[in-house]
């Protein structure tokens, strides 16, 4: 009897008014619990193996610190048992495992660099993870219905633009590695507001497209079998394009611009199912990128490094050369099929091995087998996100789910593609893995939003009658 509710959303013989109150066994949550336990076991195993490989002994303090994080994850799990009982059971374990693998790798690089205590990147990463998971718990407790976000469509658009512009405010912004995307809070912490902006943008795009999709998809003239939109409907596309180009020019951040623009294009395509928008958008972006590569030094450098990284001149270049790219490739090659083993490779030779290049570091120590497992985890995560979007009942939820999942997918593609020389290298954080607080907070909030969406999807009763 209880199974019928979970299987078909149709209950038979339930007392009036008690439909929602029935205590069904939380099958989904129990699956999640087992997977979470396995994920935490692997995470602790990773840290222990790092210590065995790099130090030759076990330092219980760090293990305990990592275990403390597991407690928070289980806190999120318990919170979901109360407020999101029917949420997807796979997202949380995958995110937990990726986050833990990232922490283990960052810790391993800290050991190589001889850093420890509160100054080290790994401890900061653990603290940020804690903040991020608390943020996710807060999101899932505060946001009981994702439709609330629909009301704040234009507000979130405004928030996104303000967040994007924050790093350009003199005195607040901070440039690092050529890109001006951080804001600094005293000497304590720096934050990358663009990471949060991507969530606000996804909400804005979803709301905007649900409101205007008819005029975007129905009206326009047909050229070469494709329907092209009217000029007035083209407005938002051009605004977003101009915005992302401005990000490239003023903040010198190619990856983020690519991310925002790709997000908008995909959501536009999903909302209108018009290929013409994608063609139009891609040609705009490629045009913009070509112009940028000709006129902006750092963009041109990236292209040159991508095409000809093994040229000794490029390799030895002091700034903007291909040293990092080539070292990353050497690292991956050194890893081979099963890797050198935790703590036994030399990922620390590559510049910034714990953030932009964490995937190369993991590739070196875990090998092809490990990298493929990580990519499979990302694929499963994104597939769940798309699935949630696909199964959704309302258009806003559908678009938001697809948009959020696609953000993760595109980010992984841009980073891993850049490191493995499939596309020109651009600096973006690998979701959940890379060192960086703002990215962790943003991605955990995305997890919370997807969980909330999936709960609504399953909770919404459906009855199918085939005539």
């Amino acid at each position: 009897m209880t199974d019928q509710r979970t299987a078909g959303g149709v209950s038979t013989g339930t007392p009036p008014g008690g439909v929602r109150r029935i205590r069904v066994p939380q099958r989904l949550r129990n699956t999640e619990l087992w997977l979470l336990l396995l994920a935490c076991l692997i995470n602790v195993g990773a840290i222990v193996l790092v210590q065995l490989g790099a130090l030759g002994r076990i330092d219980t303090q760090v293990v305990l610190l990592g275990a403390g994080l597991s407690v928070l994850v289980f806190g999120l799990h318990v919170a979901m048992r109360f407020v999101a009982r029917d949420a997807d059971p796979l997202l949380l374990p995958v995110a937990t495992l990726l986050n833990g693998l990232g922490i283990a790798m960052i810790y391993r690089i800290d050991i190589a660099d001889g850093e420890s205590g509160w100054e080290s990147a790994s401890v900061r990463q653990i603290v940020w993870s804690a903040i991020a998971i608390v943020a996710a718990i807060a999101t899932i407790l505060a946001l009981r219905n994702h439709r609330v976000l629909f009301r704040y469509t234009y507000l979130s658009g405004l928030v996104a633009i303000v967040l994007l512009l924050l790093p350009l405010v003199p005195g607040l912004g901070k440039a690092e590695g050529g890109a001006q995307v951080w804001i600094q809070f005293g000497n304590v912490a720096s934050f990358q507001p663009g990471e949060i902006a991507k969530i606000a943008l996804a909400v804005f795009f979803a709301g905007y497209l649900v409101r205007n999709r008819d005029s975007l998809s129905m009206v326009g003239r047909t050229v070469l079998g494709m329907r092209f939109p009217r000029a007035r409907d083209l407005g938002p596309l051009l605004v977003v394009w101009a915005l992302s180009m401005a990000v490239i020019v003023f903040q010198r951040d190619l990856g983020t611009a690519l991310l925002y623009f790709g997000l908008f294009l995909v959501m536009l395509y999903v909302a209108t199912s018009r290929l013409s928008w994608v063609v139009l958008g891609l040609s705009l972006f490629i045009g913009g990128a070509i112009v940028a590569s000709q006129t902006l030094d750092y963009v041109g450098n990236r292209f040159a490094n991508w095409l000809d990284p093994f040229n000794p001149e490029r390799f030895d270049q002091d700034f903007g050369g291909s040293y990092q790219l080539v070292q990353g490739l050497f690292g991956l090659a050194n890893g081979g099929l099963i890797g050198t083993g935790w703590g036994q490779g030399r990922p620390d030779i590559t510049p910034v091995p714990q953030s932009d290049y964490i995937i190369a570091s993991l590739g070196e120590e875990l090998g092809l087998a490990g990298i493929f497992a990580i990519l499979a985890l990302y694929a499963l995560f994104v597939a769940r996100g798309f699935r949630i979007g696909f199964a959704g009942q309302d258009d806003f939820g559908k678009l938001l789910g697809v948009g959020l999942a696609f953000v993760i997918a595109l980010q992984v593609f841009i980073v891993v593609g850049g490191v493995t020389r499939v596309i020109p290298l651009t600096g973006l954080t690998t979701p959940f893995l890379a060192a960086g607080g703002s990215s962790l907070v943003a991605n955990w909030i995305i997890v919370a939003l997807l969980l909330r969406l999936s709960d609504t999807v399953r909770n919404h009763p459906r009855l199918v009658i085939d005539g």
């Binding site: 038979t12 339930t14 396995l38 036994q344 087998a369 499963l380 009763p461 459906r462």
Partner: protein, 183 residues
């Protein structure tokens, strides 16, 4: 720690990583083949239209529903009865058609009816439009609105043209399916 131990530990770790991946894929399998499960009707509802005798396993309600199938005129007896509201209506019962006897819980959300897969009640027959009708709450009362469907929505036999409050136990007809709201 010898190199061999570390190698074995490394292989064990990779194995565990892949065990996790496959555990997730295994948990997914219900989802991959889950579409059919969702369409499966509850046992009682399936049995109701086939056999005239009520299946007691579904509790009292299915018995009532089967009764309604054999006497379709019976529930229409109260057209002037009290309007279904959040206080007095708890479920929507299919009284005739493929799924006679099936129930649908009434929450506070509107219920869309149509062929499209994003409807709350999906009816796939030749007479139902993509977005056929919807049940919505207006001041706590359940209203039926026809969404300009081709074959119309009927409340107690008369076609619904404007959003109309639904009396408790009145017959609503969409395509070949009829249903009513009950306590």
């Amino acid at each position: 720690m010898s190199e061999l131990t570390l190698l074995v530990l490394q292989l064990g770790f990779l194995l565990l990583l892949w065990v996790f991946v496959f555990a997730i894929v295994y948990a997914l399998r219900s989802d991959l083949f889950g579409q059919r499960v969702r369409k499966l009707q509850p046992d009682a509802a399936a049995a109701a239209p086939v056999a005239a005798s009520a299946f007691p396993s579904a509790g009292g309600s299915a018995g009532v529903a089967t009764e309604a199938v054999s006497h379709p005129a019976a529930p229409a007896s109260g057209p002037g009865g009290e309007t279904a509201s959040t206080e007095n209506a708890a479920r929507l019962v299919i009284t005739s058609g493929q799924k006679a006897g099936a129930e649908f819980p009434l929450g506070r959300d509107e219920i869309t009816i149509g062929r499209s897969s994003d409807s709350a009640i999906i009816i796939r027959d030749d007479y139902t439009s993509t977005h056929h009708a919807r049940l919505m709450l207006w001041n706590g009362r359940w209203m039926i609105q026809d969404l300009d469907s081709t074959n119309g929505t009927f409340l107690n036999g008369s076609r619904v043209t404007v959003p109309t409050p639904i009396p408790l136990g009145a017959t609503v007809k969409v395509g070949a399916t009829t249903f009513e709201l009950r306590r």
